[in-house]
Amino acid sequence: MKKVVVIGNGMVSYKFCEKLAATSDFKEFSVTVFGEEPRRAYDRVHLSEYFTGKTAEDLSMSTADWYADNNIELHTSEMITEINREQKTVANHRGVTYPYDYLILATGSSAFVPPIPGVEKEGVFVYRTIEDLEAMASYAKKIKAEGKVEAAVLGGGLLGLECANAVKELGLNAHVVEFAPRLMPRQLDKGASDMLQSKIEDLGLQVHLSKQTQYLQGNKSIEGLQFVDDTELKVSMLVVSAGIRPRDEIARECGLEVGTRGGIVVDNHMKTTDESIFAIGECALLNSMIYGLVAPGYDMAEIAVQQLCNETDAAMPEVIDMSTQLKLIGTEVASFGDALNEAKQEIDEIVYENKRTGIYKKINISKDGSTLLGGILIGDSSDYNALFQIYNTAMQLPENPEDLILGSRGGEGGSLLGDVMDLPDDAQICSCESVTKGQICGAIEDGTAEDLGGVISCTKAGTGCGGCKPMVKDLVDATLKSLGREVKDTICEHFDYNRQELFDIVKLKGLKTFDEVLDSHGTGGHGCEICKPLVASLMATIHADTANKEYTIQDSNDRFLANIQRNGTYSVVPRVAGGEITPQQLIDLGIIGKKYDLYTKITGGQRIDFFGATLNQLPSIWKELIDKGFESGHAYGKSLRTVKSCVGSTWCRYGMDESVSFAIELEERYKGIRSPHKMKGGVSGCIRECAEARCKDFGIIAVEGGWNLYVCGNGGANPKHAELLAEQIDNETVVKYIDRFLMYYMRTAAPLQRTAAWLDKLEGGIDYLKQVVVEDTLGLAQELETEMSELVNKFECEWKQAVEDPEMMKRFSHFVNSNDDDENLLFVPLREQKMPQHWK
């Protein structure tokens, strides 16, 4: 047995043990780990989550039994103070000695506290361990009791910002003080820093840049920071997060070589100047550098493990990747490669900055336009994985490299990378756990894993920051497909069917309730928030059930027939078909809105929305609306919203046809019908297109000789113009085609898939849809029309249903044992109306 002693019990120490325990040679080793902290290794990267409800146990890297289960001896609260290299022993603070064959130094680092006069004052903390956090929390409580809430964090680097978040979570006003003229100076340029600064300032943090602290004010305890430029900042607490110092004392004392500014010198095998002693993580000085990120630390642990297992060639790469992607104070931040052009090459920078959405992206491209050298993403790092792969595997760039951050404009959308399977096998997909594409696909190919979950548990891909998960899923799906195995988009864990299959089952077997469907075709569970509303939608399409029938399986809005808004109140939208409304109806609406003090706004769909109704108020508001002849507008449903119209030939001197009349007819026809997602329509009286019909799910435009019918348009996040389905058709044909089209969509779409996305996925696209709807090649047309006309004939206003039935009315009260309303609802004035108080 070879005795391995590990000094230090942080993340890298744990990773070393985990990797060693996973080797086939592990039985030849006996491992003892010493940590000076009282608990097992924990996740320091997410330390601030300790204040948002995570416990020390949640942050722990391993379960309580892990060390024992793997025969690793763990000594917590035990500090090793001496190494005797001749005897090959270490000794603890009480003089007890332990022998070793191999010694692993994973002592980590301590917070660097700059020698500013006054740092010894009460109220000054460092941010490193759970104990530090506990001390900060109790001091924060004390000063808050005295009415003091200002606190500063010294250091605007990655750790400093994470720390500022922790200070904010303590209920204090956090000020970030940074010496450099920008935040995260090691990772970000000025533009990125400015964007990050404005985003975190929006969240109530304050940033002070280019500030050099001269001394700390106050007598016994800190009262403020005095800067050299004669300004000051009054604070009652300071957390220093100005960098790290490697813990190299013990190595220094036993004569191992250390750097002039600290750090245990190692070669690229992670060996110190003593053959039997390795140093890994933040205490190790490799290439004259300390690497303060966890990913290179894990790589070092891997190399040390391989060295111990006689793989003497194993070595750290020459260039160590410092790319990072994380969420800081709610903002996505990523930087990769040579983001700041530290190599001082001739490069081209491409920058995209959008202050309105808070997004900043920069990429550095080689002068010849062939390679991506590095980049920065703020506010939206969703392209990080793809960009990192392009950088890391030196892939050929597209003709217009700006497409990498702007997306390709015009033509097919598609992903940045093209096909994930085109990546080389050694492309690193998960950088936290160093998992390559070859390992992920290999796990499926050799049968080690059968699905995504299996791949994650055997390769650990995606278990670190989780940023690579979408790409891991794509790779798993693509590999399964290449092996001829079916990749099924099942609804959720409760059904092994997709929506279309379940649709056919419910229809064929005539199933009537959620329980019937679940008991006869489920996997044995009790359902969830995914399958319940889906089945509700099927019941509505197949049996014309309204949302009142089984209200506990309805989605949030359908359950109470109103749109739930930010503070848990609801908005109320009566139908105003085609946007045509009489002055008397406006007066009626006005009287009701005023009576209940509702915030009132005109919607984009040409109707009127009342906000701020409590659950208890909904029935009486609706009773009054119904009395005045209004009915539900289904603004809350996955159903037809509005058919928007321009004024048409009735008034407009350019109008070719009566767009308002036709819009009303269509809205009345399809109102109340539930669909996989919401649907909108539009009717324009001429090609000037004032009704914006081509951004609707169905839109018609009057032309010479009839109507042009367009389908599958979308506004929203991915705007898309509707495509032409048929030209110059009469009113009757328009209705016939829309009937067929909508019913075909309602039968075959995936859950929550709008028509535009549905058409995107429909094999054959618009040409195929024309065959089905116009040419009737599937012979389905008659059936689709019949199904639609049944739904049309069975329409009932569900609000009328509800207010007429005392049993149904029971659900519209905040408490079942009291008539009180929710007393936590707070409104503040807004212009001449009101709005909910902001989210804390």
Binding site: G53, H494, E529, S556, R559, I564, R811, D820
Partner: protein, 125 residues
């Protein structure tokens, strides 16, 4: 705002000192929930009829501090009974209160007992 969260503490059965008669069984929908008021607390009570069980938890969702959990859908996550907040579909175990699809703080849970046609919720005070 945290003080509102602080007022909800998980109450294990052996710490129950008060069994509060909340409402009748028929006041709660099958496989759904409703909210009850106890002193200044809002408690979501769920009739998990498919399992033949009852659950109670705070009505306050710790994500955005809205009193809405009783209006959420219930179901199970690999056998663990859960509720999904109607606001952003954060899901919580009805057994332990743990946030199942994120890193939010756990919610407080309370024991429920049925006597005759009445539903009682247990509190320590």
């Amino acid at each position: 705002m945290n003080t509102m969260l602080d007022s909800y503490k998980t109450t294990p059965l052996d710490q129950v000192n008060v069994w509060f008669e909340a409402a009748k069984i028929s006041d709660f929908p099958k496989d759904g929930g409703a909210c009850i008021k106890y002193k200044n607390k809002q408690i979501a009570v769920f009739n998990f009829a498919r399992e033949g069980k009852w659950y109670a938890c705070q009505n306050l969702c710790p994500h955005k501090m809205e009193m809405v959990l009783s209006r959420g859908m219930i179901g199970d996550d690999k056998g663990i009974a859960k509720v999904a907040c109607p606001m952003h579909k954060k899901t919580f175990s009805l057994e332990t209160g743990e946030n199942l699809n994120g890193d939010l703080a756990s919610i407080a849970t309370y024991p429920v007992k049925i006597e005759g046609d009445s539903v009682f919720v247990g509190f320590s005070e």
